[in-house]
Amino acid sequence: MHLKIQYYAILREQSGHSEESIQTTAATPQDLYAELRIRCAFTLRHEQLKVAVNGEFAEWSLALKEGDVVVFIPPVAGG
């Protein structure tokens, strides 16, 4: 399955890019983050993040589909 992943803030810096398209067998955002965390050496655990799929907040157990856009959301600090 092909997915697009966008990175912001600390995840952007640790991954080294803002966006990438990947080929994965990860069935859920939680599986996907586990895979990426090893590859990118992300310091944050998934329990510290939220996840958005196709521009809306999503559950970690959501079934990912071909072409989904996934964004992992580090702890926010607006204002």
């Binding site: 966008q6 912001y8 803030a9 600390i10 952007r12 810096e13 310091t43 944050l44 655990r45 510290q48 939220k50 958005a52 521009g55 809306e56 907040f57 964004v71 959301i73 580090p74 702890p75 926010v76 600090a77 607006g78 204002g79």
Partner: protein
């Protein structure tokens, strides 16, 4: 539009004018300013970054909820992104209502929710040369502790 981003200085006077309403008797506003000190470190400048598409949706939801919860007339929130210097405005919230209590309550509710729920991140650059993503470096460090 009830929530938006800007890459240039927030024009509070112009934002305020968007809320003028002759049936409103009270107007409360809040500004978040870049200050020179945070958690024991001297801050030189900040960077704000947002997942703008989702942030605008979530920001608008916050203001719609506040409008249902408090009897207000109008509300608006503008958040800055990019590089900010000390003293600049990072975020502005304005609310008008018939009575002042609702204006204060809604204004505070909105800024509290924006800080907790909207996907915006802040990187602080310190005088000692370090920098860090607020709320991320500490918890990342904690994550590395077994």
């Amino acid at each position: 539009m009830l929530f938006r981003f800007t890459t240039s200085a927030i024009d509070t006077d112009s934002a305020r004018r968007e809320l003028l309403d002759v049936s409103a008797g009270g107007y409360a506003s809040f500004e978040g300013w870049v200050r020179d000190y945070n958690e024991g470190q001297e801050v030189l400048r900040l960077e704000y970054e947002a997942f703008e598409a989702l942030a605008v949706k979530e920001g608008e939801r916050i203001i719609e909820q506040a409008s249902l919860q408090y009897p207000i007339k109008r509300a608006l929130c503008i958040h800055r992104v990019g590089n900010l210097n000390l003293g600049e405005i990072a975020v502005w919230v304005g609310v008008c209502a018939v009575h002042r209590g609702a204006a204060f309550d809604a204004c505070r509710h909105i800024i509290d929710a924006v800080k907790h729920r909207v996907p915006i991140w802040k990187k602080e650059h310190y005088r000692n040369g370090d920098s860090g993503w607020v709320n991320c470096e500490h918890c990342a460090a904690a994550a590395l502790t077994p």
